[in-house]
């Protein structure tokens, strides 16, 4: 998968000055499978970047191409197809279903894709240390636990690119490392790449590319 930016500038960021090496208002191409780090302090537009590529926002100038296709021309149906088959995401606000149990949240996704067996999902849960919380209502989990649920949910589908918006913000380094290991392993299995936005920590991982905002 390729993602190309041509002088993209989101409307909310128009007022602010951008450095020359910023992704905003510049032209560049991202090729996947590659592991890309999106590094910036708060307020520079990390979430905006993720939402632009995931097709959730359209308030920007310039052109974004996914696989050489201008994403402005993609219909809702094409987006849904893309999100189901080749583009996965971990939202900063997670977007889990609070009323459902942890397990139901995962099954809801997996029954759509049939990507993993129940045993595989359970071993992922155990790997991230929340296997004993399976039947707990999601909104009663701690944010760190919910973050791990969102991470596993994003892996329950085939993908070429995984977008992650500060996925480890509420995890300690140990748990972040475990999660990144799992993500890295799944990414390899899918022969995919990822973009990880972070407030600065590289979590000890070796990225192919780094973007600045």
């Amino acid at each position: 998968m390729t993602i190309e930016f041509k002088s993209v500038l989101p409307s909310p960021l128009k007022e602010y000055p951008h450095q020359n090496d910023s992704v905003w208002k510049s032209n560049f191409v991202l090729e996947f499978p590659n592991n890309v780090m999106l590094n910036a302090s708060s307020g520079k537009g990390k979430t905006t970047f993720v939402n632009l590529v995931y097709g959730i926002r359209s308030d920007y100038d310039g052109v974004i191409l996914i696989n050489n296709r201008d994403i402005r021309t993609m219909s809702l149906f094409e987006w849904i197809e893309l999100r189901r088959t080749s583009l996965s995401v971990i939202f900063q606000d997670l977007q889990l279903f609070g009323e459902l149990t942890l397990w139901e949240n995962l099954i809801l996704k997996n029954q759509l894709t049939n990507h993993k067996t129940e045993n595989e999902i359970e071993s992922m849960l155990n790997h991230l240390g929340i296997g004993d919380r399976k039947n707990q209502i999601c909104k009663t989990l701690s944010y760190g636990q919910q973050q791990r649920v969102a991470i596993i949910r994003s892996l329950l589908q085939p993908f070429e690119l995984l977008l992650m918006d500060e996925p480890f913000s509420h995890l300690d380094e140990q748990n972040a490392k475990l999660a990144l290991d799992l993500i890295s392993e799944e990414t390899k299995k899918n022969n995919a790449g990822f973009i990880l936005s972070s407030l600065g920590s590289k979590h000890g991982y070796n990225f192919n590319q780094e973007l600045k905002l």
Binding site: Y54, I56, L76, F77, R83, F97, E104
Partner: protein, 398 residues
């Protein structure tokens, strides 16, 4: 699981009102459709004989008629004028026998001895809507089928029989017995056998098949060409108003009872029609209520719907989950409406009509069920379009 997410906020007063409205509206609508059909299929015995909406008209006999200043014949121009009226679908002048007729009993058939001078008239066979009776006549026929005025048997039973000290005759007996028909004219005399096949309130003539008059008139008639004095007409439904205007205009006489049935039917139809229109309005309001209800549920679940679209759920699968649920709700409403309608009809309306002397024969409930199914489909389609549009918009402006 989709259902659990989408309908988590679905219980509210809006739902209760919309459901109650739909139930009441649909029940009332189905009831009015069913009663309308029942009334439409209601025939008096008269109509069974001559078909619905048929009326005999004649010109009024006045003083002027008696002194010969005008006559009660319908000229060919009159007939043409009748044919041109839009509410009249068929016109048939009565053919009259051009010879003398008398009837008496056939000995041994159970009737007392009697003799009466008579006259024969005929209307075209297409007006005789008799199903069980052979209304055809040819020279090989065993007997001449006759339709008598009901008043005739009244006169015999309550006037003639009592004053002469003879037995009264039931309609059944008269229909079972044969009659001797005495024909006299053109210098010839002949006896034939006749049999009463029906009674009429509407026509105060003694009716025989047209084919019989066509056969007998040239033989026993004097060759006079007479304009008919009575005309049989068939009108369109609910046209008694126009008919009354026509009676005024052409100075006509008409058997009042004949148009009473039409009048009652029209009035009942109008009343039920108004009821039906009100029911239809309730239905439409409740449909709007349901559309609003689903709009409410959708907007309460907008976060969930957006998220589902974001994790790869298709618009179609969400719409289908929604519509399946609404289909169950409205399916139950439709089913209950049919049941309540039948209960109300059988246990309330029918006994009430019965007590008031109106016997309606129940017609098939199939058309009513069809109406219910059409309402169901209309409901599903309206909601489907609305839900699909809303979900699509939620997905688009995410």
């Amino acid at each position: 699981m989709l259902k659990k997410i989408l309908f988590k906020n679905s219980r509210n007063s809006q739902f209760v009102f919309a459901t109650a409205g739909a139930l009441i509206g649909l029940t009332a609508l189905l009831l009015s459709v069913q009663l309308m059909l029942d009334v439409r299929s209601f025939h008096s015995t008269e109509e069974e004989l001559f078909g619905p909406n048929s009326v005999v008209i004649q010109k009024k006999v006045t003083k002027m008629t008696t002194i010969g200043m005008n006559n009660t014949e319908f000229t060919p121009e009159d007939i043409d004028a009748l044919k041109e009226k839009e509410f009249i679908t068929d016109v048939a002048p009565f053919a009259s026998a051009d010879f003398k007729v008398g009837i008496s009993e056939v000995e041994g058939d159970g009737l007392p001895h009697f003799y009466a001078d008579m006259f024969f008239q005929a209307i075209p066979d297409r007006f005789m809507d008799v199903k069980d009776v052979d209304w055809t006549w040819n020279e090989q026929s065993e007997f001449i089928p006759i339709v008598l005025p009901r008043d005739f048997i009244m006169i015999i039973n309550y006037g003639f029989a009592q004053s002469q000290g003879i037995n009264q005759i039931s309609e059944e007996l008269l229909m079972a017995a044969r009659l001797t028909i005495h024909i006299k004219g053109n210098g010839k005399e002949h006896k034939m056998i006749g049999r009463v096949v029906g009674f009429s309130q509407k026509i105060s003539s003694i009716l025989v098949p047209e084919s019989y008059l066509a056969f007998a008139n040239p033989i026993y008639g004097n060759g006079n060409i007479i304009n008919p004095s009575r005309v049989f007409i068939t009108t369109t439904d609910d046209s008694y108003g126009e008919l009354e205007d026509l009676m005024e205009e052409m100075n006509l006489d008409i058997a009042k009872s004949a148009i009473d049935v039409a009048k009652i039917k029209t009035i009942i139809t109008v009343v039920i029609g108004i009821f039906g229109v009100a029911a239809l309005l309730i239905m439409l309001l409740s449909l709007m209520g349901f559309v609003q209800y689903s709009q409410l549920v959708l907007s309460k679940a907008s976060y969930e719907i957006r998220t589902l679209l974001r994790i790869g759920y298709s618009v179609k699968s969400i719409v289908n989950t929604f519509i399946r649920q609404l289909a169950i709700i409205f399916g139950l409403i439709t089913g209950f409406s049919i049941i309540i309608m039948l209960i109300v009809k059988v246990f309330l309306v029918n006994p009430w009509l019965d007590n008031n002397g109106i016997q309606l024969e129940s017609s098939s409930i199939l058309p009513t069920i069809m109406v219910a199914i059409i309402c169901f489909i209309l409901f599903i389609v309206a909601n489907y379009l609305n839900v699909k549009k809303t979900i699509f918009n939620l997905g688009k402006d995410q």
